[in-house]
């Protein structure tokens, strides 16, 4: 019974649109015609898009692991003043809307970046102007920035609970630091590393907002091409073929992820607090210092530059961008006052959160109380939308939701799409908590005389209460920042903040750019506030896979 709502929701808003895409891809004229598919797959441009998507995802994943694994050690095993705050800060990029990440790197890597300012200061007029916008480097950097937290949280989470005596034992037995890492820590961490690598690969393979803003000709992922085929070329069969291609790749990656996480659950772990210690040797201090520097440069500087640029106007520093963002501005390129985009975002985000909590909460409960295969099936089915790209969802809504009700023009589509994206995160937050409730607690309460309802109220609810709040904050952050699906289904007169930012960035002029920066800053602040509120609850599952 618990499953009715999730099944209807998933069926209507996920399975049906995706089936329509498959149908459109395989049978554009009503008959199955594999020729279309074959032609698209042999097409040079499709193949080069697929190739670019694949290699940038692989390189992004490898780079992220290389940078973030040392960071995971520093943040999970070393103790230093401000560690908790920094740990929360590095998680911020993970919930940042992709559009904001794109904007931040535009500001950081453009000709007016602080890097160039520094070059001019040092070299004077002879300084070359670095402009890394619309390069692969920009995309890769943004991906590392975005996914750093995934690896730090996932690998660091396990690392902080590995018995440090295992590493000590290896050292005393005569192994060097590096050898100890290679032969003891690395094998023990491999499930977490593999799981986070799979997730990072998935995220970067389906990267949309970042690539749309930072990429350019020849630097488009499948996601971006689906968008282009739909909105510019109006070639729906091509878009469907691309979406199919993507779906296959994503399902394979998810299968690998599922396999890896199942393997992960058999280690003796210790309390995290007991494994952290201040750096004591010179080598340990160097290691910590280097990682802190990486975090400052890679994670904090884009955010700082974003905020700084929101105050840059045509006539120097000022509050113009913010004034025009919050006060009615008839000269804006948006169809509506910028303030309305903010209002739309908050409204849609709140509705989406409620929907995701109901659907995800029911599904998680069903997965906990259900037996055997139901539990596993629900668990896995709800992970699929996580991997299925947002663009596929948005595109699917566009071509499928004219039946049974024509929802295509409805503003309801936006929160529904956002809820669909957020639901897997709700499930992932609630499920471990629900499963961790010791049945003996309920038994003890019952033996002490509590009725079943009372047991639920006094045992289950207080325990999952915090997890529910976490799930709510997390869904809200995701919904507010959602771009891939929203950009397909948002009506021109009801833009959300990410959509408005994208439109502003598409127009020339310092004023538009500044306003985009201001709106990005505001959006970043909203999502970061949601995240930091969660972090205070210390359930600690955000960004951990």
């Amino acid at each position: 019974m618990l499953l009715v709502v999730p099944v209807v929701f998933l069926g209507w808003f996920f399975v049906w649109p995706v089936t329509s895409i498959v149908g459109l891809g395989l049978a554009p004229d009503g008959e199955v015609e594999l020729g279309v598919l074959a032609r698209a797959l042999t097409d040079q441009s499709v193949r080069s898009v697929a190739w670019f998507t694949l290699w940038q995802a692989v390189v992004s994943t490898v780079l992220t692991l290389l940078v973030a694994i040392p960071g995971a050690y520093a943040l999970s095993r070393q103790e230093f003043p401000g560690r908790r705050a920094l740990q929360a800060a590095v998680t911020v990029p993970f919930v940042l809307p992709t559009v904001v990440v794109g904007s931040a790197f535009l500001a950081l890597l453009g000709p007016r970046s602080p890097v160039n300012a520094a070059l001019v200061a040092v070299l004077g007029d002879a300084a070359p102007t670095l402009d890394l916008r619309r390069t692969v480097t920009a995309i890769l950097l943004a991906h590392v920035f975005f996914n750093y937290a995934v690896v730090v949280r996932t690998v660091g989470g396990l690392w902080s609970m590995l018995d440090p005596r295992l590493e000590d034992a290896a050292r005393v037995l005569g192994a060097s630091r590096w050898r100890t890492f290679r032969e003891v820590s690395l094998p023990l961490l491999s499930p977490a590393i593999a799981a986070s690598a799979a997730i990072v690969f998935l995220f970067t393979f389906t990267s949309f907002g970042v690539v749309l803003i930072l990429g350019g000709p020849g630097r488009a992922t499948i996601e971006v091409e689906i968008h282009r085929a739909t909105t510019q070329l109006l070639d729906l069969p091509l878009a469907s073929t691309l979406a199919l291609l993507q779906l296959v790749a994503v399902l394979s990656a998810l299968a690998v992820y599922g396999h890896l996480t199942r393997r992960a659950q058999q280690q003796r772990l210790v309390a995290a607090a007991s494994t952290r210690r201040p750096p004591r040797s010179r080598a340990e201090r160097w290691f910590l210092g280097t990682n802190l520097a990486v975090i400052v440069v890679l994670v904090l500087s884009p955010l700082a530059v974003l905020v700084e640029r929101s105050f840059v106007t045509a006539t120097g520093y000022g509050l113009d961008n913010w004034r025009r963002l919050l006060v009615d501005d008839p000269s804006s390129v948006l169809a509506v006052p910028a303030g309305e985009a903010v209002r739309n975002s908050l409204l849609f985000g709140t509705s989406a959160t409620l929907v995701a909590l109901v659907v995800g909460g029911l599904a998680a409960t069903a997965a906990t109380v259900g037996r055997g295969w139901i539990t596993g099936a629900v668990d896995r089915a709800l992970m699929v939308p996580l991997g299925t790209s947002a663009v596929t969802v948005g595109f699917g809504f566009l071509i499928a939701l004219d039946r049974p009700l024509d929802l295509r023009g409805s503003p309801l589509l936006v929160p529904l799409a956002q809820a669909l994206i957020a639901t897997p995160f709700v499930v992932r937050t609630l499920l471990p908590v629900l499963r961790s409730i010791d049945q003996r607690l309920r038994d003890a309460a019952a033996v002490l005389g509590a009725s079943p309802l009372r047991v639920w109220r006094e045992v289950d609810l207080p325990i999952i209460g915090r997890a529910l709040l976490v799930a709510a904050g997390f869904s809200f952050a995701i919904a507010v920042g959602e771009f891939g699906a929203t950009v397909f289904v948002a009506r021109a007169n009801l833009p959300t903040m990410p959509v408005a930012i994208f439109r502003l960035l598409g127009r020339p002029g310092v004023a538009n750019f500044g306003q985009a920066m201001a709106m990005s800053t505001l959006l970043a602040a909203i999502t970061a506030a949601a995240l930091l509120a969660i972090d205070r609850l210390r359930v600690g599952s955000v960004g951990r896979f």
Partner: protein, 354 residues
């Protein structure tokens, strides 16, 4: 030979070991005995190079260990709860040390075979460590620690995580293994039975300092302070008046020259009855000339199989423990006569820790 001098260790500004001096001679089994939290594990970690000392020196066979990394020190450490590598089987765990020391494959295999045979686990090479029983895990950990042939072997509560029956069995086994090795051994435990049955010498540790170092027999015969006496399970500790010539006990005055003395001052000093100093007097064996006769009432009677363990309250108000053997089986409430050997009244030195 291990020589530790003026060693001070701290954890995040909390001093856990203070100005400690300790030596272990070649081939000696030195037990460090102390309650949990007294700093004994930290001491081992410092010798292994896992904790940097605040001050002090550690020499092993004349070599100063300062500045050497753990992998350069040539010491073996068997961890509490064993810390076996969960991703490796038995042979791979034991082979780790010889392998990282750069031995070739045949030599490694030989070392593994030797170490496993020494602990009586030959034939378990390919078993996974998760499948091992507690006692087997303990022995694999020992084999792993000795396989690189360290100059010094340190064991941190090696029997701590095992049940009592298994502890007893391994305690019978361990002295053989240790003597076959011939290595200098530092053995840390909080269990006085373990220390008494294994050690050539025992160092009793308390709150980061060594309270007394002696052979087990000497320690048992002459505990220096009330802390040591209590830790060995002697008791009760009570206050008596002692001047230069006489000691005034609750049961009478005795010449100071006849009691056992750990170097007590004069005035109010603490005292304890040594084991075997107290017996139940009977018609066949009345209190002798060298014994004090004390009347007491039985308040606790615990059956121990071959004897009774009695708790008695003396007329002067002390609760004492005494064994009652065959032929003398008083009930609770009965009045009995105790015989206290004067030479077994042991005056304790001033207790610095209070």
């Amino acid at each position: 030979m291990l020589e530790i001098d003026h060693l001070t260790l701290a954890y995040d500004d909390t001093v856990v070991v203070e100005d400690l001096a300790l030596t272990a001679a070649d081939g000696e089994v030195l037990c460090v005995l102390g309650p949990s939290g007294c700093g004994k594990s930290t001491l081992l970690r410092a010798v292994a190079g896992l904790e940097p000392p605040v001050t002090g020196t550690i020499h092993l066979d004349g070599r100063d260990l300062a500045g050497l990394r753990p992998d350069q020190r040539d010491v073996g450490l068997m961890f509490q709860e064993h810390a076996l590598f969960p991703h490796r089987n038995v042979a791979e765990n034991v082979a780790f040390g010889p392998r990282v020391h750069g031995l070739d494959r045949d030599a490694v295999r030989q070392r593994v075979a030797e170490a496993l045979s020494l602990v009586g686990l030959s034939g378990t090479e390919f078993r996974h460590v998760d499948e091992l029983s507690g006692g087997e895990r303990q022995r694999v950990a020992l084999a792993r620690a000795i396989a690189p042939r360290p100059r010094l072997l340190m064991l941190d509560e090696p029997l701590g995580s095992l049940d009592r029956a298994l502890q007893t069995r391994l305690l019978e086994d361990l002295p053989r293994v240790l003597s076959q090795l011939g290595t200098t051994v530092v053995y840390v435990t909080h269990d006085q039975d373990e220390a008494l049955s294994l050690a050539d010498r025992i160092a009793v540790m308390r709150a980061g300092r060594i309270e007394q170092q002696d052979t087990p027999a000497e320690l048992w015969r002459s505990p220096r302070t009330a802390f040591v006496a209590r830790f060995l399970g002697l008791g009760p500790v009570m206050a008596v008046q002692a001047d230069a010539d006489t000691v005034t006990t609750p049961w009478g005055r005795v010449p100071r020259a006849e009691v056992s003395d750990a170097g007590a001052a004069t005035g109010t000093v603490e005292t304890v009855l040594l084991p075997e100093a107290l017996r139940l007097a009977t018609g066949h064996q009345p209190p002798g000339d060298d014994e004090l006769a004390v009347t007491a009432t039985v308040v606790i009677r615990r059956f121990q199989g071959d004897h009774l363990r009695l708790g008695v309250d003396t007329a002067t108000g002390q609760r004492l423990q005494v064994a009652a053997w065959r032929g003398q089986l008083p009930e609770v409430g009965d009045e009995v006569t105790l015989a206290i050997e004067v030479a077994g009244i042991h005056l304790l030195a001033d207790d610095p820790g209070g």
